[in-house]
Symmetry: C2
Subunit: 221 residues, 2 copies
């Protein structure tokens, strides 16, 4: 039964924990779960091996916690990218600036920029990779990640459809397809994240996605 932690001591521990989780994600990204060894993670975190086991009981829980942390920060960034689609308050205000295509373009470019990140690719890869060994990652990472992004986007689209700024349709499908139009070509062009794209190429990809999306979901002529 340890005594209640004093703030300072607790903060020291917390910092170490974060350092370990960050290092873990880095090493797992580099080597995959199977090939990554805890010793290397400890070294990357600048910490002794027993310290790692002191904070995280297992290699498995270490992996889970690292993935959860990475997913959480990725989700926050993605949700922030949706900002331009938020109507301020009244309804007909200048929320989307009266210009839906422009707002969509800003969102698309920002999302693509996020998803082209090395960390984003690492997260996707590890999720794909260890899904069979860690089925619970689907809920941890995806449930609090991609799914919530889709729902938030669908919410925005629903408002725009109701306001006649987009054609009336199933907003969930529209959101799904919008994200697909962004991420699919990104995966193809960037060779699954192994090739770095220039910003201009990313923007062109985003613009192409928005153009196709608006042809399909723009307001009825």
């Amino acid at each position: 039964m340890t005594t209640v932690r004093t703030p300072a001591a607790a903060r020291g521990r917390i910092d170490k924990r974060r350092a370990i989780l960050d290092a873990a994600f880095t090493v797992f990204s580099r080597a995959g779960y199977g090939q990554a060894c805890v010793k290397e993670i400890a070294a990357e975190a600048g910490v002794a091996k027993p310290t790692v086991y002191n904070h995280l009981t297992d290699k498995a829980t270490l992996f889970r916690e690292a993935m959860a942390a990475a997913a959480e920060s990725a989700l926050a960034a993605d949700l922030a990218a949706l900002e331009p689609l938020h109507e301020p308050v009244g309804g007909t205000g200048d929320g989307v600036g009266g210009d839906v295509p422009a707002a969509l373009t800003r969102v698309a470019r920002e999302l693509l920029r996020r998803h082209a990140t090395a960390e984003a690719w690492a997260l996707r890869r590890l999720l794909h990779a260890e899904l069979t060994q860690f089925p619970d990652l689907l809920d941890t990472v995806r449930g609090d990640g991609t799914r919530r992004l889709g729902e938030a986007l669908a919410d925005r689209f629903a408002r725009l459809m109701l306001a006649g700024r987009l054609r009336a349709a199933d907003p969930a499908v529209a959101a799904e397809q919008f994200l697909a139009l962004l991420d699919g070509p990104l995966e193809a062009r960037s060779a699954m994240g192994t090739r770095r794209l220039r910003k201009a190429d990313l923007d062109a990809l985003a613009d192409a996605a928005v153009e196709t999306f608006l042809r399909a979901f723009g307001p009825e002529s």
Copy 2:
């Protein structure tokens, strides 16, 4: 210096080799590269462990060959699914049956059915997973796989655009986006291949993709 193989002996060897590669893909799918052990692969193939090393020198080459074989058969299946988009010969014949939407729907449904397969998901997962450890998989699997599918599809689209059956646009982009509209929502709905979808759901997904695609790329009104 082994003598030239007589057909019968060669066939026996070839059969064993295929059995080993199939078993390898099965086990790798189930466990991932790191966690899969060669002993288990040998057992799955109904073969002794030294036999495996007799045919494939390494665990690594075993993996590469198994992936290449799986990718090749997946590609063949995908290309076959594009059949309905082939104009027979003359130009204005009944190749697409005069009905582009119907042909696209058939292609979309068939492609989606293929991509929802357990083997297709396993291939995608393993590719994602071990890409950092086996960078050459990109050329082996992807170069002879997804990329060629995209190119073949772009070829079909180019013909249709030229014939005025689709709006004139960059056929490569159209192909990329068509595939994205299929695979993106599939990934979302099937929870990255962990949830099995009913055929009706798959068809609905395909139809939604085709509808959006045609709104964006259908012939100008």
